[in-house]
Amino acid sequence: MSVMVYIPTPFRRLAGNQVYVSAEGSNVGEVLDDLGSRYPALRHMIFDESDEVPGHINIYVNNQEINSLQGKQTPLSDGDEIAVIPAIAGGQVLTEEQVLRYSRHIIMPQVGPLGQRKLMAAKVLIIGAGGLGSPSALYLALAGVGTIGIADFDVVDLSNLQRQVLHHNDDVGRPKTESARDTLLSYNPDVNVVIHDAPLTSENAMEIIPQYDIVINGADNFTTRYLVNDACFFAGKPLVDGSILLFDGQATVFIPGNGCYRCLFPAPPPPGLVPNCAEAGVLGALTGVIGSIQAIEALKLILQIGDSLSSRLLLFDALSMEFRIVKLRRDPKCPLCGDDPTVHELIDYVEFCGAPFPSHDGS
């Protein structure tokens, strides 16, 4: 039985800086033992001298504390999610202003003060401060996600303002990252916005992506999409993917090991075959739908609630106003995450896609 274990920020460096690790076992005790043998440093944190879980650490199975289930004997099924949550002593306490600002979240039992602190401790990287990145960054900032990274190197163009809600009329000509940061901080000065103002490449992706817990993809080109997919897989980071064209949108979540963008689309189309939004157009409000869905998926991953879009691809048709879901599987033949992988490090994506990284990120 393989289950995913959520590692909270204070313990993450003890587990290879991963947000989720997989572990084996038919009940909670076995999984904790397996976790401890895989990460010896973590073992000292989750077991005391008598091999019991210390009182200041709670273990959750699918968001239920195990003492309300069958303790360490709680049986597990494939796909269950375990979380190891320490009491945060003397750590981040919500201020009066934060309690008021986030009250509509905090009053929901699925969030609560613990969830709000998870949001404030979370680090999310957004690729592209454009149509999709705008609404997703906005809702994460409003929710108090502590660190929001923005990767873009374009400047705001008048034609962006039909949909890119992070940028205002006066921002035309400014770098998108700066405009995005100013807008986000004007909505919520409580968050930390980190700017990555250079093209994402095979050289810098593995420096930037591992600094974050979750990545949201709002890139507008295949070259960046394959690069981000591979880098997230190597860094073990969940990737919340979204894309749009005309009146259609797609969204999904790639959890490393459960399928990736290459499993969905093994190769990019030849350059020029699938038009981009500049060539074909896109309904502005559609970016709000898909970008908001990406924000929701990121918030759910941080809060460990609900069922993510992992293993499912959501299709939205704005003209017929139909949402559909199709299955997305890990492809055993995937060169990245399949049974016999051939891609072991970042490759030359310009060559792979037959198209350069765009001179503008454009997203």
């Binding site: 149509g131 999709l132 949909r163 969905l264 990019p268 500049a278 879901i325």
Partner: protein, 94 residues
């Protein structure tokens, strides 16, 4: 065998701008041949040398036909086929 075919995004221009067309065939391959006879050039957008393009996915109901019998996947009355090309758009170049 009549099957509803949902066509996404840029493929719609191949079928006169429609988002959904009816087509006939006992397998995905026959159905694409039927569409190609009525919308010349449609099949070549999806298949080359008998292989589905790797940037196009075809779903029978909610299942990717790559994990069924690919082009030989049998169809039955009332099925829905969705043809979905990879989209890269995050918002578009200025």
């Amino acid at each position: 065998m009549t099957v509803e075919v949902k066509v996404t995004a840029n493929l719609q221009k191949m079928v006169g701008g429609k988002r959904s067309v009816q087509a006939e065939g006992a397998s995905v391959r026959e159905l694409l041949d039927d569409l190609d006879s009525r919308y010349p050039g449609f099949k070549s957008q999806i298949v080359t040398d008998g292989q589905i393009h790797r940037f196009v996915n075809i779903y029978l109901n909610d299942e990717d036909i790559r994990f069924l019998d690919k082009l030989d996947t049998p169809l039955k009355e009332g099925d829905t086929l969705s043809i979905l090309p990879a989209l890269a758009g995050g918002s578009g170049l200025p």
